[in-house]
């Protein structure tokens, strides 16, 4: 049946959405190419069908209408519609697959606060998606800049205290706090710091907020 290949893409996108901690699956270049090939075959067939229909209608001495489809014999109309349906279905599946992935890239960029995608996710993108991710991150960052005093991508969690305790998971090197002091964040060390200085690092996974 037409569109069986394309359906694989839709199933894959659906699985990726449903998976816990949902992230991006590897861009399925092979199947996408196959779907495009099927589309090409259908389109070529369709041109042939259209030519046959036009010819049949032109040759028909009893035809008085300009409505080619209405004047064509039912069998040709059926062929046309079958190919048309196949083309539309493949197109829809392709678009939905790519749209779902792009939505995911957008969501990830917001979650990570305008930083680019982490390398293991970027690796799973197609070149076009990676370019989009880069540009979108830039766009988000400049959008955030417009509202300078409010961090639009900060954790939407009302703070309970000014200072929090954090443990370092991944080495961050030296950071500068809002008050101008410097802090060395070496792996496995624990610090009592101002919340606003380290929120971003917690969401990005470098630190862990300890109770």
């Amino acid at each position: 049946m037409y569109g069986d290949e394309a359906l694989k893409l839709v199933r894959e996108a659906k699985r990726a959405q449903a998976a816990a901690g949902s992230t991006l699956s590897v861009y399925n270049e092979t199947v996408v190419r196959n779907v495009i090939k099927e589309l090409q075959i259908l389109a070529d067939e369709q041109s042939r069908v259209v030519a046959v229909i036009q010819h049949a209608v032109d040759e028909d001495p009893y035809n008085e209408t300009d409505d080619v489809m209405a004047a064509a014999p039912a069998a040709y109309r059926a062929q046309f519609l079958l190919h048309h349906a196949g083309i539309e279905r493949n197109k829809r599946c392709l678009l939905a697959y790519h749209a779902a992935r792009i939505d995911k890239v957008r969501a990830l960029t917001w979650e990570l606060g305008g930083a680019g995608l982490p390398p293991d996710v970027a690796r799973r993108c197609s070149p076009a998606e990676a370019r989009f991710a880069e540009k979108y991150a830039e766009l988000l960052t400049s959008f955030k800049g417009v509202h300078g005093s409010i961090d639009l991508t900060a954790a939407p969690v009302p703070p309970k205290e000014l200072y929090i305790c954090v443990r370092v998971v991944k080495d961050c090197g030296e950071i500068f706090t809002e008050t101008g002091q410097s802090l060395v964040l070496k792996a496995n060390t624990q610090h009592f710091v101002r919340r606003t200085d380290v929120e971003r690092l917690i969401t990005q996974g470098y630190l862990v907020h300890v109770e």
Partner: protein, 211 residues
């Protein structure tokens, strides 16, 4: 059944579930002879489709073949919507395994209800709507526990819409628990980073939700 086309909105077009639901096949009888398209029956046996040929066709294909102007195929109800199944639903809705009958049971039923306007018995819609309500009570009960997720026969029998409701209910339930334990104040590592590394205390990664 008669057939009425309905234009897709943007939201529907990209909906992955909508695409998968339309893959459901209906028994279809061709009303015209179509040369050269015999391969649609999935075999190599027939060159042409003859008038009266019966082939199960997906809903998306039937949608294009049947228009307000003409019906190129006559369709029948799928097995999932026959009187036998409906009787079962009236008797004990929660015991019916909808996943096995049709993973997108309610979406398909709704589509057919619209498409076959007037030719489906009115009781069909009522029965299915009632069954949904009855099953919903049991689904909501299950949202209070996570334990039975993979083992319960009832949960295995839920269709995709019901599963989505179950998952959302379980997530909501978890959020309430977290709120009660005052954990919302804790900043979390972005879910986008996935289940990844163990945290600083060596506990396995839990890409938890913020807040």
């Amino acid at each position: 059944m008669s057939w009425t086309a309905r234009p897709l909105t943007d939201v529907d077009y990209y909906d992955l579930d909508g695409i998968l639901a339309e893959q459901q096949c209906l028994p279809a009888t061709f009303q015209v002879h179509i040369p050269g398209m015999g391969y649609l029956d999935g075999t190599e046996e027939n060159e042409d489709i003859l008038e009266g040929t019966k082939i199960p066709l997906p809903v998306w294909l039937i949608d294009t073949l049947n228009t307000d102007h003409e019906m190129l195929v006559e369709t029948d109800l799928p097995k999932a919507l026959t009187e036998a199944v409906l009787r079962h639903l009236r008797a004990s809705a929660s015991k019916v395994n909808l996943q096995a009958l049709c993973p997108y049971y309610f979406m398909v039923a709704e589509k057919l209800q619209h498409m076959a306007e007037g030719t489906l018995p009115t009781t069909t819609g009522d029965t299915i709507a009632q069954a949904f309500q009855d099953r919903l009570k049991a689904v909501m009960d299950h949202t209070q526990t996570r334990l039975e997720e993979h083992t319960s026969e009832f949960v295995q029998g839920l269709d995709m819409v019901e599963r989505d409701i179950l998952k959302r209910g379980q997530d909501a339930s978890l959020q309430v628990k977290r709120w009660a334990m005052r954990t919302p104040a804790r900043i979390r590592r972005a879910p986008a980073l996935g289940m990844g590394d163990a945290d600083a205390y060596g506990r396995p990664g839990r890409g938890g939700r913020q807040g």
